[in-house]
């Protein structure tokens, strides 16, 4: 891995790929819309000439929302993953593995069980509870791995994250079992899905996702410092404990917004930064946007796969990301070992 292959080599092809996958995501599905009709209908929607009578437009409006959701959630999870990997100086850190995602999912489920379902654009009680759950899970991992004092080593981090995830997952399963009627099926929260999600979710997601992305970008120079080790961070002029706390909280915000939209989806936050790092190097001001684009591509592609692989059944999107992500990850580890990630 070289340090600087920067920018144009990555971003132009990646954005092109993103466009392509968006078009595919709009055109493919239970009803296949020919490419030409897809473009024509998008043109009509943009120019507001659309007529409700056109069946393609109805489908497209739904698919556009869903594709946007998948793209934003993918970008959020991936940039949060890049941030966590930097903060913990650990290539295995990601929102799913360290427990933030399952903490958020538990918070969301609890809100539903308690009947707290108020929602206005940019805010919903469910996402607030998800945020709380995400913060608590992240704090717990911080405390367990002792990051306040020293560094989070890989093994402790993995064990703490896995244990916390199992704990929250079982709590979710218990709540779902007790209050089945109020909740989507358990797998929605545990594996994630974009099925039936739309404008309401998009409005709630948009602001925290944007804030989280800005926070991630704003942290990039700090994250570069973290690579040197906590003692060096202090001697370079930054309090690592405080920085972890503030940046971790900002990431919990964006992750919880993603989770209350689509459940907890694994592997995007883990793998997208690794792919991005191969192209743009480790410097976070490039790595974070590159991870976001990669994550968006990956999750739109995963959602497309989830709804077209075995029609008319829709698979949970998290099952697709794990199906592809887990083997990729194991392959990477077996080939290069942990250090090379």
């Amino acid at each position: 891995m070289t340090a600087k292959k920067y920018n144009s080599v990555f971003f132009y092809p990646a954005l092109l790929l993103l466009m392509l996958i968006i078009v595919l995501s709009l055109s493919l599905g239970a009803v296949r819309i020919p490419l030409w009709d897809t473009f024509r209908a998008i043109g009509e929607i943009i120019s507001k000439k659309s007529t409700e009578s056109d069946p393609y437009i109805v489908i497209l409006n739904l698919r556009i929302l869903r594709t946007m959701l998948a793209g934003i959630v993918g970008a959020s999870l991936a940039s949060a993953g890049a941030v966590f990997q930097g903060l913990f100086r650990n290539p295995l850190a990601d929102p799913y593995i360290i427990g933030t995602s399952s903490g958020s999912a538990f918070g969301a489920v609890l809100a539903i069980v308690l009947g707290w379902t108020v929602s206005i654009p940019g805010f919903s009680a469910i996402s607030a509870m998800a945020f709380l759950g995400g913060i608590i899970a992240t704090l717990a991992v911080y405390l367990i791995t002792g990051v306040f004092g020293s560094r989070g080593d890989t093994v402790t981090l993995l064990l703490a994250g896995t244990a916390l995830s199992s704990l929250f997952s079982s709590l979710i399963a218990i709540l779902v079992a007790i209050k089945d009627k109020q909740l989507h099926q358990a797998y929605f929260w545990l594996l994630g899905s974009f099925s039936g999600r739309g404008l309401g979710e998009l409005l709630v997601l948009l602001i925290p996702a944007l804030l989280g992305f800005i926070a991630a970008l704003a942290s990039s120079r700090i994250l570069d410092l973290f690579s040197a080790g906590d003692e060096s961070v202090i001697m370079l002029g930054l309090d690592p404990g405080k920085a972890r706390l503030v940046i971790g909280a900002a990431m919990a915000l964006t992750i919880s917004a993603s989770v209350s939209t689509a459940g907890s989806i694994g592997f995007i936050g883990l793998i997208a930064p690794h792919i991005a790092r191969r192209f743009v190097g480790p410097v976070h001001k490039w790595l974070i946007p590159a991870s976001a684009v990669t994550g968006a591509i990956m999750l739109i592609a995963a959602d497309l796969t989830a709804r077209t692989l075995v029609p008319p059944v829709e698979l949970p999107v998290g099952a697709v990301t794990a199906l592809i992500g887990a083997p990729y990850f194991l392959y990477k580890i077996s080939k290069h070992g942990l250090r090379s990630l």
Binding site: M1, T2, A3, K4, R89, N90, P91, A218, S219, R221, I222, D224, L225, S227, A228, G229, E231, S232, V233, I234, M235, L236, G237, L238, D239, R277, G281, P282, V283
Partner: protein, 277 residues
């Protein structure tokens, strides 16, 4: 750019400092005083606490008792931001998780000046450039750090410390794993920095390197007692023998000055006068 806060005062005043890890005292009663232009060498056998003493002086470890005042600032109470303006740190181990370029690492030294968001100013860029040039790294600026040799990597860290533009630089065994030529080169670099007015605090393994550069000497005995003072007084044959539990041949050469070569382990071997000739 902010002026160096303490160029002509007593830059380092350490008084009866004791420290270690919770429940494990490591060193006692270190009293060290140094001015701008001084090179303070810390010698001591393996495990005697050179690194612990350094980290306590920097405020990375809590002192059990005593005070550390660097540039009129109490290091035990200073924030990371305050400390980073006073002293730059060249750690012994450096294993960045990802392969940043030499330029990226050296530019970390500007964090304290540029902060987390501002674009690097011209002064920042000039400081980085000057630091790279001083360490002979300009042609390696874009090289990933993990492709460098041990000696080059060490110079990258010193360049980072230079870019930080602090009146004091602390180095933890920077000569370890360097070949003799690189060691001498490094000592010359440090002496130049001292001539420019910096105070250098450095731990070393090699007594002869310390002879070469020390203007203030610190010796840590195996029991943690800290001796300190002028080199002539501290590098006394008797002191060295007790501290290292080793017999030395002490010589003098008109070109290289004083030198000491280890002869035998005084603890393990019975004293044999023939060995000393």
């Amino acid at each position: 750019m902010k002026q160096l806060p303490c160029t002509d005062a007593v830059s380092m005043h350490i008084s009866e400092l004791s420290g270690g890890y919770p429940g494990i005292p490591v060193f006692h009663n270190a009293s060290i005083e140094a001015r701008s232009g001084d090179i303070v060498t810390i010698l001591g056998p393996n495990g005697s606490g050179k690194t612990t003493l350094l980290k306590t002086i920097l405020g990375l470890l809590k002192a059990f008792s005593g005070t550390v005042t660097l540039c009129n600032t109490n290091m035990q109470k200073a924030t990371p931001g305050e400390r980073a303006r006073i002293v730059a740190w060249v750690p012994q181990l450096f294993e960045p998780t990802w392969s940043y370029s030499v330029y990226d690492i050296v530019s970390q030294g500007r964090f304290i000046h540029a902060g987390p968001w501002k674009q690097f100013s011209r002064q920042d860029q000039e400081a980085i450039h000057a630091a790279l040039a001083a360490m002979d790294l300009l042609e390696h600026a874009e090289t990933p750090i993990n492709e460098l040799s041990g000696g080059q990597a060490r110079r990258v860290l010193i360049a980072r410390a230079l870019a930080q533009m602090t009146p004091i630089i602390a180095l933890d065994e920077p000569a370890a794993h360097l070949d003799p030529g690189r060691q001498i080169e490094l000592m010359d670099i440090l002496q130049n920095l001292a001539h420019e007015g910096k105070t250098i605090l450095i731990s070393l393994h090699d007594i002869n390197l310390a002879y070469r550069i020390a203007t203030e000497a610190v010796l840590i005995k195996p029991d943690g007692t800290v001796l300190s003072g002028k080199p002539e007084k501290i590098f006394d044959p008797h002191n060295l023998e007790t501290v290292y539990e080793t017999e030395f041949f002490h010589g003098f050469n008109e070109f290289i000055g004083k030198f000491s070569l280890p002869l035998s382990r005084s603890k393990d071997l019975p004293k044999n006068p023939q060995n000393i000739d």
